[in-house]
Each structure stands twice: as C-alpha cells, then as structure tokens.
Symmetry: C2
Amino acid sequence: MKIDELYAILRRRGVLWPTAEIYGGTQGLYDYGPLGAELKRRIEEAWRAWFVGLSEDYYWIDPAEIVPEAVVRASGHLENFTDPEVTCAKCQKSFRADTVLEAARPDGVDGLSPAQIGELLVSAHARCPNCGSTELSVPRPFNMMFAVSLGVGDGERAYLRPETAQSSYLAFARMWEVGRKALPLGIAVIGRAYRNEIAPRQLLFRMRAFTQAELQIFFDPASFPVPLDSVATLDLPVVRAGPRLAGNETAVLTSVADLVSHGGLPEFYAYHLAHTYRFYREVLGIPADRIRLWEKSNEERAFYNRIQFDVEVRLDSLGGFKEIGAVHYRGDYDLTRHGAGSGKDLSIAKPDGSGRLVPHVLELTFGPDRALWALADVELATDGERTLWRLPSPLAPFTVGVFPLIRKLHTEFARSLASTLVNEGIRVDLDTAGTIGKRYARADEAGTPYCVTVDGTTVDPASPDHGTVTLRERDSKAQRRVRPEELVAVLRVAQHPLRPPPVERPAPAVPAPE
Amino acid sequence: MKIDELYAILRRRGVLWPTAEIYGGTQGLYDYGPLGAELKRRIEEAWRAWFVGLSEDYYWIDPAEIVPEAVVRASGHLENFTDPEVTCAKCQKSFRADTVLEAARPDGVDGLSPAQIGELLVSAHARCPNCGSTELSVPRPFNMMFAVSLGVGDGERAYLRPETAQSSYLAFARMWEVGRKALPLGIAVIGRAYRNEIAPRQLLFRMRAFTQAELQIFFDPASFPVPLDSVATLDLPVVRAGPRLAGNETAVLTSVADLVSHGGLPEFYAYHLAHTYRFYREVLGIPADRIRLWEKSNEERAFYNRIQFDVEVRLDSLGGFKEIGAVHYRGDYDLTRHGAGSGKDLSIAKPDGSGRLVPHVLELTFGPDRALWALADVELATDGERTLWRLPSPLAPFTVGVFPLIRKLHTEFARSLASTLVNEGIRVDLDTAGTIGKRYARADEAGTPYCVTVDGTTVDPASPDHGTVTLRERDSKAQRRVRPEELVAVLRVAQHPLRPPPVERPAPAVPAPE
C-alpha cells in the first residue's frame, strides 16, 4: 500500500492522527488513538519482556526526559547533534541542506560533511524548494535539540533528551549500588526522545517527539560470557560493509557461528544481534525476506561506535528498506565522557583486583513508533472486499471481539462473558452494533485475532450447548463452537508474549554485600 | 516517617533518585529505578483499568505532549497559567511570592491575588529567603509553561503541555468520528505534563515533569444517566466548602444519595466522585481515616470549574493532607474555547433533533507520582528490626520472590520455577544472594506480597512433597507448603487488578452509522 492509502486507513480507524488536528496539525507530532495506543503499548511491552528478559541482570527504569545542559555537553550532543541547514536569500525559508541537495543529486548524500554539501549545492545548481531561487546560503550546523529554561529569569538551561540512552548512562552509578555490583549490568529505558527535525517527514519515521526503547548493557570487554551455542546455527541476513561499499548490497545468510569465527564479530555482539533478529522475526512477525542487518562502515557510523548493524525492514509504503533499530558497540565512550563531565569516577574495580575499568557499552536500540508503522505496512492488506491486519496475536490491541448475535437477546450474556474475560486479563472488544459481518470486518481491520459470537444456543438453558459460543479465527475465518474454559485457554495463549530463555546469572566474582 | 528518612529508603532501594544525580541532580526532576518504574506503571495500569473500565464508551489514547501555541492561547494557559514571582533587589534571586509571604504570614496565602500578595509582602515586612533583604520587587506573573521552538530560525512556538487534559480536548472531534457518535464519551490520557515551578519542592509533589492520569468525560448536561443505586449507600468523607469557610474543616461522612438529594450534587458528579473515592480505598488501599474529599469554594476554584472536590490524603512525611487527585465539572468551557480557537465547530447535533450542543466536561484527574509517594508514606514502615512495605498486591512491583535455599543445590529448580511463573504472567524476583532472612527482608522492603523457598524437599524426587515449595505471606509472615498449581492460582489472584462493574452502554439515540 502507498503511504497515503495506509495512513488514511489508520487515521479513519483512530490508530493515529496529527497532534492538534483541529488546529491543522503539527509537523512531526502524532497522537495515538485507542487502537494505536494499545498496539504501541503492546510493542513496547513485548520489547521489554524480550530484551530485559535476556538476563537476570538487565533492568528497566523510567527516568525524566529533561536533562541539564552539562549532560549534553559531556555526551557531545551540544556540539555535534546537528543537521546542516540552508536558508534561501530570496524567500528567507530554511531547509535541510542534504534534502535540498538530494533533489539535485539523485546518487545520494550519505556521509557528506556540511562543507562538501555546500560545495555540491553550488556545483549542482541546487534550487530553493520553495521559490526556485539558487541563492542558497552556505550550510550551517543546526542543533536538533529542544532547549528549555528551568526556573525564573534566565533560569538554568536544560534540554529534552535527544536519545533515551543518556538517561541510562546517568543512572549507571546508582544502579551499580542498587544492583549486584557486578558486570554485565543492563539498564533499559522506554520513553520519549526529542529531535527538532528541520523537515519532519514519512510520518512515524521522522518525528519531533518519538519513543525509543533502548537497552544499554555495561560490560567488561575482557569478560562478557554469553551462551552462544543457543543461537550458533541461526542464519542472519547480513549486509557487511566491505562487499556493500564494493557495490554488492545483497544480504547474505550467515550463521551466528560464522559471524564470530570468520566474520570478526565478538561473541557478545553476535549473540545480541541474533536475539535482536529473533525479536523482529518471532515477536514482531516480520517475514524473513523483509529484514536485513546492514553494517555501517567506519566512515558511516558515529566515531565512538566500534561495531554497528542497523536492523532494516523493507516497507512498500516508504519505498524500500528502513531502519527500525540497531545494535551499537559504543566502547567506553559514554561513561568516560560522563565521568569527566560530572567529575564522578564511573570506573569500577576489576573483579580480579588488577585495577579499575570504565565499563564498555553495548546498546540495543529500537523504535516502537517505526515498528508500529512497519506492522501496518507489512501486515495490513486490503483486497477490495476485506481489509485484514494480520497482527501477531500477542501484539493485537484486542485479543477477542465479543458479539451478541441479536442485540436485545444476547447482549446481557455477551457483556457478562466480556467481563469474565477481562477479569482473566484478556483484552476484549465488546461490539454490539451492526450485522455480524460488519463486526467481523471491523475486527479484521483492527487486527483482532479472534471473535466470538453469542447466539440463541448460548443463552438457551435447555440446549446441551448452553454457554458455548462460536469462535472465529481471523486469518483462516474458520469457526467452531467452544466452551468458556476452552475459550479462556485459547485466548490466554494467543496474547502470551514471547520471551527467549534468560541468560543464567553467574555468581558475581565479587559477591554483592548483603 | 519524616520526608528525609522515607526518601533515603526509597533512594537506597532504587525506587527513585534525582535526575542526573551524578551531576548533582536537577531541581524538580526525578528518575524511577526498577522498583519505582514498575510500581508507577502498576498504579497507572490500575487507574486505567478502573476508570476507563467504568464505561464501554471510555477510551484510552496516547497523544504527543508538545502542543502548538494556538492551543494554549485558546485554553487560557498562555494568559493565566502563572505563579506570582518576586525578585530581590539586593541579591537578584527570584522566588515565588506566595512562598515568601507564607513565611511572614502563617495564616495562609490561598486565594490571594498577585496584587494582594504584593501589598501583604510590604505590610508583613517579608524578607528575601536568600539574603534577608526586604527590598523585594512587586510580584509579577510568571508563566509556568515550558516553551520550545519547532523548526529552524525563529521557528514555530510550541509548549510542553501543562496538563494532559488539553490533549483529550484536541482529540474530541476525531474520537467522535472513531467512536459511536454518542455521548457520554470518555477520553483518558496517561502521560507527561510539565510545569516550570519557580520553587520545586516536596519531591514528587511539585515536580517540573510529572505524570497525570486524566479522564475527560464529554456529556450532555440534559442527560448523563448513571447507575447511582450501585453506590447510593456509600458514605463519603466530604468537607463541604460552606462549613469549612465558616471554620469547620472536619470531614463529614455523607452518603452518595444524600449528596445528591440534600447536598446539591448532580447524580453524574456524585457517581463519579464515589468511584473516585472507591479507587483510593479499594485499589490504592488508603485507610479511610486518611482520605477526605475537599470541596473548593467559588473563589478558590478556577472560574470555569462549576464543582470541584479534591481528593486529599493525609501524609505524615509532608505534614498533613495533600491533594492526589480531583473531580472537576468544567462545563462547556473547554470545547467552546477550542472551537473558537481552532475555527472548527465542536458542537454536536442533539439526539432529539432540537439543535446543537457543545458537550460539557467532567474531568477525573489523578497524579501517579503523588500516589506513589502516598503509598510509601502510608504503607512503608520500619520498627527498627523490620522494614515492611504493605503495598496492595496488585500494585507491588514483584508479586513473588523466588529463593533457592542453598544456591548450589536449589538454584536450577528455582530458576525453572521462576521461568514458569513469568510465563504465566506473574511478576517474579529471583533472589539467590544471602541468607533466607536477608532475602525476606529485601522482599519485605520492596513490598513483595509473597515469597517462595525452594529447598531439599522440593528437589527430592523420592519425597511425596517433591515439587512443593514454602509459600510465605509478607504481612503475617505465615508459611505453608504448596504445590505449583496452587502457587500459580494464589499469585494470579494476588496481582489481579480490581475493576468496578462497567456502566452498560445504552443503544445510542442516534445510532452510529455502520
């Protein structure tokens, strides 16, 4: 489906719409309606269960999203978190320089410096997207953070965090005290990050306020044991930087064992990359041929990243592979910088007594907004007659629609059944309006994996099938009569989130004080 | 417990700490650690289940927290959302004028205008809290919203929303289309609101970034039927404005029926006030003698509020009754203002065909951060030997602690049991470190309602009690052996959120198009 067609369905069904829509909307900001809010929550919960569940030493925290200036000075964002901006001398409008250049230079602008962009804008005779003038300024760096002023007067300068990762780095010292005082230690945050995009676009893919789910794993590079055997034979669709830069962008299925033994990846990296891939396949249900793990080269990735694979999903609505998440090996950059910035020693004593160590960081990052869009792009389809959203059942906003066949006769039972199911923790949509066909259609569109119909037999005390309901499965449309106990069991399984087996927690080399 | 003592425990256990703690913290901003994040999440989920569960026409949405300037101009926040600020001519520091006055005038400053505060500051010879000078400026209004600039150059001015309510008002038109096109229609938001407090204080009670859970119910004042009978005999501890202003602040237990028949409250208001009270009692578990429903007088409440009761809880750590939530009958103020501000007609056709109506709003507002602190204040106690947090079990971060008695012998079974329980949706804390006594103590402090111990009998295949574990109940410390099936049943019940029976959805007078 094209982006506009898909967005129209999602807007009509109240999945999402522009913020302050009655005021004409706001660029780069979106509101999630009932279906979207629940779907996004489910995606986030699934991410949390999967990744925080990877180890008994991975924790979820919920920090504030405003940070003082000293934090973003130390992290480098104050200096470096910029996009190149050009202003048109004729109409005074401003634009992202790389976007302007893209229009004049179809072979791409990735990896160019602002200075190179400036030269190319001139040599390519780039024009103002608004008025067509070629009188464009030299590109200037534009900082993408939102600044706020805390307190009265000039106040204290602070920023809406540009990435949730910073909150985990700030929390390391406290979490070290709260936890077992042993590495690896994982700190996950699911929350807002903010970027003042010069030109928000592609809906949920370049927003000004968006959600990140990020797990920062702090570890000792000399010792980060992982049960690699559990994933050694898993084939990952990797696009390595070397062949790619030589012109071959084809993903090559490579086993995790191979990536370690011949591919040069550390075991801890390959292990977490494998579980990241599994999450997209097994939890989000993205088909294998739509996923690739795209390695960034030395030149392409941030200087502090030592290894980076982006997880990309092919989206028809956005014209190709798009990044949904990534795995970054960031070395000791973050704690070193915040140690220096805060004046607090963030190193820890090595367990073997051989001195101190600034923990390294492995970052698993994920965009729930983008994932929601990807699930719509990949799994929502219409064939003219039927619009069907094949959401994985644990992610569906509702697990079951409950329909009284005839409103006057069957609603009381349906309502009581719905209440029973809600009390069992099942996500229920009681729908009493319109023909059963219309209600199935609405449920199909919402991605609801099961519907049950309450009919005359259900409410007839004389019938041997008293209490049974018709259970209809979304994808196959298959129907069968079931008893309430069986119904609860089926629905419980349907909405059960998947988790990989957690890594066993070894006894810490330095036991935590009791 | 005193505020510092309680905060020390919460900080040590990683419930919460100041944002950017390693940089010395940030006034009015806090991070929630693993226990705090989960507890806050549970409080929010309990609120959502209870209040959104009140009716089939109440929905939960998740909107962006940045709104364009036109929104806060229409809502009145741009003009009126101010605190009075004074600056000291000598030391140049700024303060909240009412706080400065409070120190010089112990009989309170509520309801005073900035002009009155200014006069009283002079007549009371108020002094600068920093340097002691009496050279204080005339109080100026200080707008408490955080402004941000969207886009490049001067950009588009926008604000971090000062209350989540605005997001629901903005969504009304879209939700009317998405829903059944019938009133009452409820739109709930749980999310961040931001206030640039001049002087943040009392920890979670006056934060600069905080969470609100608010349900806005849009209704026709001529017809908002509620099943009042279901709560008619419930006694509510009300402090009416009249007697209170005459000097009597005692809460009087008054039945819901009485509040309607003699107390002048509309049925819809009394019904929702009753369920609000029930939430604090039955879900949060606050003792009756610590709650009062405090009516605001005409002069005290915002001019658009027609009826307002604050829900106040008595907190020892903060020296008295503190507001946690409120019920506001806001009339048609909000949709009228946003209709005018946006130029979009937000009125709806009356179902009886007698013209158009701007829906009225009943707002149920709640502070999850404050509620978390209240649960610590009320339920966390230490007797020197034992620190115990009697959290209601559905709210506890962990429902069960799983302890292998001897690490080497019993951890494998304990881990497998923990995994089984997690797969059943139970919140589990596997703790292998230290003596069983130490582990019980840690669990008691975390509010974990149950602990199970895996011992020699559990893992002995020859024992008739093979597979059974010792289940220990937090408050009574009572222990008994249980089989796994019984364990799962007990824990499921323990973490089950309470919900009131939902109000039946009547057929809409104007049926929704199908």
